[in-house]
């Protein structure tokens, strides 16, 4: 019997790393924590984490936290007011211990529809309403046209997003939160980001190589993501408060309970690195990641997507007519970027072309999770695979859906660029497979623990 190299490396890696997991290597390979701005107290929003920027190939790029972890849970039948108090105590202690920055710890607690169904009367009165879509801001989970039938729509009560440059800070928070006996943990999702700016080797290739992931050796040495491009350029991510429910005026906040809150979508996406690097040459990777006609020099990783570079629906349609295909960023920009200047409630001017979604996605080798309470349902495997735990904050669930549908060629007016789902003509879709999805609502910090339970 011949043993393939993947099994060989997988076994060796598992033996070498023991129970610590491959992510232990992030600290060893990243060369230490990057410099961070000093945080001044805890902001009212849970999802805001201030990050420093660096220049990458002439583009301002945000340096994401080295470590990210999400764990999901269901809530047992308990006295909800006591549970609310106990969870807030733990969160408050963590707030006191760590500054709200990647040098310390960022904690975001997000609640799913199953939770709000348990407090339905209060939810009916207080959940924000999306005026633009004429729907609740928190929508039922759904599959999108390019999702396979196997995409699992989850039903967790709550998700905790932990972000830090220090794995020990995340471990400390995890230990404190896992100690709450009313939470039944359903999954743990781990990963990493960055480590490769300013000319240093980045983490994705190094970790994927050590994990023996097929296609790992094809990843560029300094790439921020497995797929070879930089995704955290500042102009591509929503500024500080733009994803708040109230900022762009899409939402009726009703009594204001959720003022300062946002919507969060969580999914796991596996990436076929070999298909990407062996079937798409560099030119096709650029047009697939960005747009037909996108200029990039050979092996460029950070391709500017500033307000002046973005596509509107007209340009997107013209490019599609000319080439029969559209790129990932270009297809989303008509929905993810402001189509006109907007003044926020605090007087902040958001110019046309400003990005709305705030992504907090991170690379992972989980398949699909580091831990699953239901391995059969989650199709869990110990074989590492390249992927991303996609975490994004939008003002509303409908706003997220507009962007995700745009990935599949649905324009803001509802018309569609006709391409078969998962076609190579349709951005990244042919090399991505979404395994799990769930929508959550992120309350403001003051109501992060069992929102509405007290009403």
């Amino acid at each position: 019997m011949r043993l393939d190299r993947r099994r060989f490396l997988g076994g060796a890696a598992a033996a070498a790393l023991g129970g610590a997991g491959i992510y232990e290597l992030v600290d060893r390979l990243s060369g230490g924590s990057p410099a961070r701005p000093v945080a001044t107290g805890q902001p009212p929003e849970q999802h805001v984490l201030d990050l420093r920027t660096v220049q990458s190939e002439g583009v301002e790029v945000i340096v994401p936290p080295l470590h990210s972890e999400v764990f999901t849970a269901t809530v047992q039948d308990v006295d909800l007011l006591k549970a609310q108090s106990r969870l807030e105590d733990v969160l408050g202690q963590l707030d006191a211990k760590y500054e709200a920055s990647p040098a310390g710890l960022g904690i975001t607690v997000a609640w799913g529809l199953p939770w709000f169904e348990r407090v339905r009367t209060a939810a009916d009165r207080h959940l924000p309403f999306d005026r633009r879509a004429q729907k609740s801001v928190l929508l039922p989970n759904r599959r999108f046209p390019s999702d396979p039938e196997s995409t699992l729509l989850e039903d967790n009560d709550v998700a905790f997003l932990l972000r830090s440059d220090r794995s020990e800070n995340i471990a400390d928070a995890r230990e404190a939160l896992f100690g709450l006996d009313f939470l039944h943990v359903t999954s743990v999702r781990r990963g990493f980001a960055g480590g490769g700016f300013e000319g240093k080797p980045s983490l994705p290739k190094q970790l994927a190589m050590r994990a023996g992931v097929p296609g790992a050796d094809l990843i560029p040495d300094t790439s921020e993501l497995f797929l070879g491009f930089t995704s955290t350029q500042k102009a591509g991510l929503g500024p500080r408060l733009i994803a708040n429910h109230e900022t762009l005026g899409y939402v009726d906040l009703r009594g204001g309970y959720f003022h300062g809150g946002t919507h969060m979508h969580l999914s796991h996406i596996s990436e076929d690195l070999e298909a990407w690097y062996l079937n798409f040459d560099f030119g096709e990777r650029v047009l697939t990641a960005f747009a037909p006609g996108q200029k990039a020099h050979r092996n460029q990783q950070t391709v500017s997507q500033g307000p002046e570079d973005v596509q509107d629906a007209t340009r997107l349609r013209q490019g599609f007519t000319r080439t029969g295909r559209f790129g990932h960023s270009g297809s989303i920009q008509p929905t993810s970027r402001l189509q006109q200047d907007v003044v926020g409630p605090d007087g902040t001017v958001y110019p046309k072309g400003t990005a709305i979604p705030q992504r907090a996605d991170f690379n992972t080798l989980d398949n699909p999770f580091a831990f699953s309470a239901n391995q059969a349902r989650d199709r869990w495997s110990s074989d590492p695979t390249a992927g991303v735990h996609f975490v994004v904050f939008n003002p509303t669930g409908d706003d997220f859906e507009r962007n995700r549908l745009a990935m599949d060629g649905v324009l803001p007016d509802g018309s569609k660029l006709e391409v078969a789902p998962r076609s190579r003509a349709q951005g990244f879709n042919s090399v991505l497979t979404t395994t799990h999805r769930q929508n959550f609502l992120v309350p403001p910090r003051r109501h992060r623990s069992f929102p509405l339970a007290e009403l």
Partner: protein, 194 residues
Amino acid sequence: MRALLVAAAAALALSVAAASAATPARGCPAAWLKGWQALANKVGAPVYCPKQMPNPLDAKIGGRYADIYSIGKDRSYLVSFLEHGDLGSGDVHVNFRGYPGRSAIPRCPGPVKKGSTIPCFSDPVGHMRANGIVATVYQVNQGADQWHILLAWHYERSLYTVSEHVIAPYRFSTQVKRNLARLLGSLVLVRPQG
């Protein structure tokens, strides 16, 4: 630990088997020469016969690993060898091509727009030098060479290629490149006769 020992033994067996496939003779191995000579005669141009193939393949045209034997009207040829591991051992697939009298990279149908074409070999990622040949390493290839790493070079104004599929048991492009480097170093020219 046992799994590791088994894995190490398997890896060792793989490399030993590959080495034993090498034939020290100067020319094309006798058992393989007849087929390669017939090919050279048919296309009226030199062809490259390997003295060594990735384990477990041999390069006997018409032999147990023969897969494709195709000669076009323009005298271009594709000769491939395949071990298809139905029982989980994986696939080993090597293609040899030649384009007598043509040095340009051929065009293949594009993946999206009907009627469009793209280079059949693209994304050059470096060079390999062996045996007097300077080959360009292409990472993105089309047609029968899709999912393969491919080496391309010129000889007497003709284009030649050899490629290998990146798939278990040669799961990584670095492994495949090592195989291809050995292959390149083992190539011998077989000239047409008669």
